[in-house]
Symmetry: C2
């Protein structure tokens, strides 16, 4: 006999008890249905990829966070996001795919980083991306948040806000202001929500941006109504092609978002956001739950001019948004916002309880009958006291219990108990399905 | 600019093009629905577990096949089946779960073995198990194959056969024959389908089983009708408690399988099968597609007296069956047996094609309207020639295309084209949903 090993999982990982798993799966299902509604196709890439693929964008933070697989001969690791595998997939199968290629992938990704509260080493992302060949219309930049808008509405999570920007505006404006390190400036500005206005000023000063220039930046990003933001952007006399293009694109994306009927108060043209990752080139989007902004963006993404430049010379522009699904789930749980399941949801329609072994054949027959009508039915096969059997019914969250004694079996009846009201009545077998439907 | 990295995946891994992925996902969905119908609860365990958990059953083949994660301090690896994590899960949460605990898990597992044809390093398993605390009724041993029976029927894969045995019969019989190495004898016998009768005889001789004893073994396992197999087993005057118990159990499982209405010709009481894995203690089941027996069992499992003995002192008997889902998918594809999707299945109900940018707002409106009626709708936003747009509609497998020119937009109409018949007609917007439903 081998020794007892303590049953436990690695720190930074998580798993759910069945009841929560049912909730999580329903969340995943609603998200997936929302993606399919817009014609996104499913793909699934391996968990393990060649290391050179995963590191093709260059190392940095990624390299530190990657889970490597032990192997003498092959460098391989677990995928840490769904975007790099998508880029590889699209480049690899570019002659088999039809462009624009709309794909969704809801899958687990892996980060070997030190675990912190709310950060997992394995978690779900739910991504949609639209990839064009050579070109991709700007309307896609509005359809993508609209897809998410419909999903969040269906999830019934209360008010939320899309923060939308175009990085060309910042890039062009920094160019116009003759700022040397545009990337660093953008990175600092991007932290304004997190570290605050004062710290951003300090960091700007540190990299040599003078106060006058700083003021000009803060003037640009001032909050205002969307119409007024656009007015201000256009009224500034910025003689820079990239800036002008960015403003025009942002205005169009906003116009299309409205045409899709995203309500005005769900959109916030927010010139301060940039998204850390450097592959975004124009539209960038973050999504916050109103009143829970401190939890961070629950759905982020943007447009990249050339998704797969590391894998192919074909120009493949794309736009994508990603939900951190595991994080969203725990956010909703914490904020008491799991409103997407009916209060009287029952995983199991009925538990059939035969009182004795003798009623087993009849119980099986009743179970078969109800399942053939599309109901989810469980039968309690174990022997034991009725009290134990009833207690099982209480625990498994079934809507009804169907009790079968010798009389019921003889007379083709059942005793039907509504678990919520506690009411119990004798029902003819041929009436049973209508009673519980 | 970074170098171009060749976009490819590791050998032994696979991924599907979207059209096949849709087929695979539908397979997964039917299997899942079949599990839920019987009240199995979903669980999901991490891909990465502590190495001591995964190796708790002792090394051997497993140890060689395991994917280890590179880490200085923690021994961890990828799960290679769903049974060991289940045992760990049930032991870990035994005071939170309700027993009998019916769970399903459809998930990817990892084997670092050398890849061969039809063997992948990452593949899906679809497992159901019922775990009792201390006791578990034998009826579960019949419900489990019935659950699979209903799923395979729904998948419409043609005739298949459950081979059912009880290891107590072989164990008791070997004991009765005073065979020394019962495990090895069983392992050799289990290979009879693969290596044939003659080779089994040879290997028996090698481990010192005399011809007379060999004959007695071959007498026991002779194929026959199910009733005759049971008659023969009972008529043999084997004075061994384990044997007698095994025969009685097999007879009961057979009786219950019939009560569940599994057709007689789908059941084969086959005393030769044992299943290699050593944790099965009584009922063992394999499933073959008739005419494709060479492809091996598509669904296998059995009963274990004590699932989690490595993790807890609580006795947790269980019965489980597992579908190798990835393998089943490719088996069905090869045998041309993907019959579970309608011939006129369309992932996308309609592609809306605005002729010009001017009709975009109207196209968005039509798309919103149809989606709100529950249809999966895509809009073609790109500019370009009509020919290119129509060719896109041909490629994406939509049931209809909806063409919108300036007249249609003005008059609240659309031009509706049935992609199969090629017929095109002008339809009032308020009649559109009824036309395509």
């Amino acid at each position: 006999m081998s020794e007892i090993v303590n049953p436990s999982i690695l720190s930074g990982f998580m798993e759910l008890l069945p009841e929560e798993q049912v909730q999580f799966n329903r969340l995943k299902e609603i998200v997936e249905e929302g993606f399919v509604e817009f014609g996104y196709l499913p793909i699934e890439t391996p968990a393990i990829e060649k290391l050179e693929i995963l590191l093709s964008k260059g190392g940095g933070e990624t390299q530190k966070q990657i889970y490597k697989i032990e192997d003498k001969s092959i460098n391989q690791a677990l995928k840490y996001d769904l975007t790099v595998p998508l880029a590889r997939y699209v480049a690899q199968y570019q002659y088999d795919l039809t462009f624009p290629f709309k794909r969704y992938q809801i899958d687990r990704v892996y980060r070997g980083e030190r675990n912190q509260r709310g950060r997992y080493r394995e978690f779900y992302q739910a991504d949609i991306d639209i990839i064009g060949r050579e070109n991709l219309s700007l309307i896609n930049d509005a359809e993508i948040p609209y897809t998410m808008y419909k999903i969040f509405k269906k999830l019934n999570i209360g008010k939320f806000t899309f923060h939308v920007n175009n990085r060309k505006i910042l890039n062009g404006y920094f160019e116009y202001l003759a700022i040397e390190d545009k990337d660093e400036t953008m990175r600092i500005l991007d932290k304004i929500e997190k570290i605050g206005y004062k710290n951003v000023r300090e960091e700007f000063t540190e990299i040599g941006i003078d106060e006058d220039t700083q003021n000009k930046i803060f003037d640009l990003i001032k909050f205002d109504t969307n119409e007024d933001v656009l007015k201000r952007l256009k009224s500034l006399d910025v003689d820079n092609k990239t800036y002008i293009e960015g403003v025009k694109e942002l205005e169009l994306v906003y116009k299309y978002m409205k045409e899709f009927q995203i309500e005005e108060e769900y959109i916030n043209l927010d010139i301060s956001i940039a998204r850390g990752l450097d592959y975004y080139t124009s539209t960038v989007i973050e999504t916050f739950l109103d009143g829970h902004e401190d939890l961070g963006s629950v759905c982020s993404g943007g447009r990249y001019d050339n998704l797969a430049s590391n894998f192919t010379k074909t120009k493949l522009p794309g736009i994508g948004l990603s939900i951190g699904l595991t994080r969203l789930f725990f956010t909703l749980k914490e904020a008491n916002l799991i409103n997407y399941m009916d209060d009287d949801f029952h995983y199991i329609k009925a538990l059939i309880i035969p009182m004795n072994e003798e009623q087993m054949e009849y119980a099986i027959k009743v179970g078969n009958m109800l399942r053939n009508e599309g109901e989810n039915i469980q039968i309690y096969y174990e022997s034991g006291k009725m009290k134990k059997k009833f207690s099982y019914a209480d625990k498994i969250n079934c809507e009804y219990s169907i009790i079968i004694g010798s009389d019921e079996a003889k007379e083709e009846k059942v005793s039907l108990k509504n678990m919520k009201t506690g009411l119990q009545e004798t029902v003819q077998l041929n009436e049973l399905i209508n009673m519980i439907k």
